[in-house]
Amino acid sequence: MNEIFIDVDYNQTYKAGQKISGDVFLQSRDPVSQQIVCTLSDGLGSGVKANVLANLTANMAHKLSFSPMHLTKSAKIIMNTLPVCNERKISYSTFTIADIRPNLDKTVTVQLIEYDNPRVLHFSHSAVIDIVAQEIELHREGAFKHEIIRQSTFSMAQGGRLIMFTDGVTQSGMGRSLPLGWRQAGVVEFITNILQKDPHISSRELAELITRKASTLDGLAAKDDITCAVIYVRKPRKTLIVTGPPFTKERDAQLGERMRNFDGKKIVSGGTTAQIVARLFQTKVKVDLSCWSPQVPPASKMAGIDLVTEGMLTLGKVATALENKTSIYAMPDDAVRRFVMLLLDSDHVSFIVGTKINEAHQDPSIPVEIGIRRTIVGRVRQALEQNYLKETVLEYI
């Protein structure tokens, strides 16, 4: 499993009165090389026309950055391809492209191309770091102004963030509370404060705080589309799921050892398994009658374990919810919902599946149960990988 995780998310507020954004953010991840490409583009004007411009730009930039073509050439192609605005006789759309590749030493290499968006910010923990860029003039025929592209390459380590936004953020509040708008310096100060207070804030939350602040400065009626994207390099959040009693009693201790050494959230699924774990950790399982629904037996509480649930029914429902991408807001507050929430909040999920066959009283239904357990765990893994791009590992004990 990778020892770093790159958390990418963004947030957007449309210009007041618009039903579509003139800012477009795209991201994609190559599942094999883990290369990530993010593009943020702001089309001239607002509404549908701006959206088409920005979409075209972002999509082209995105495709081209996976090709070996030189970046300045790509930029020219993009600009030559854009349709020309009827009123202004110019085709114009800003863009930022970040190409991020993980290295073997827990760092990532970033290649950044910036054209006319506010400068991208690079933070290491809560400190802002200068991005040293090379400026390339495009010299495009028929260009209506000097076109300069900023190109930079640098590396980021764990705790590093790239924050990109459109001018809807930096110009927010202009002419209202702030004569010159929020400006780059104001945004930097705001982010620094947040990162000092909450160093592990997720990309989703940080991007949302920034756009929300910008739209507040605009008096909650955004004067332009406001978009912010955050790329955060961090330790992966891990969750361990233990289900089924180990094959032999001797392996119980081994299971305890594995659980104790696991650095992350822990879920135990299955009544008998929970009893074994409680014994290993010398603690008690307490059924939580406040958390159940007619389809899902109650969750339980156990010290040191984040969630204890019943086995088969719960796991089966978790698999179905992940396969159907059911929104957690559409689920009753039961063990399945809590299970799914923990999984969606993690980047890496490990399963330890117990394979004990004969209980003391030789229950003939148990071998069947093991088969079912394997199938359900397989479904959960597949859905996590395919629908939510999570990494998973499985081990039998």
Binding site: G271, V287, W292, P297, S300, E310, G311
Partner: protein
Amino acid sequence: MGQHNIMVKICVGTACFVQGGADLLLYEDFLDPSLLRICTIEGTSCLHCCKTDDQQLRAPFVEINGVVHANVTPKRLIELLREAQHA
């Protein structure tokens, strides 16, 4: 004077839950408030009664003051608790 604290443990293991145990968890809806007041009701994991072949002893199981009862429906639970109350 009847009994003042009746310990009730409703099995929430898989077998019991799917065979009627879920209905018992709605006890607040069908138990009389006077009865509720004198009961301490908890959920418990599998009581290990569900693995016998005895057709008479079917899930769901509920343990009342240490005695396990089989085939407990909401109606039966009310009866059992009344008996315990006056025991």
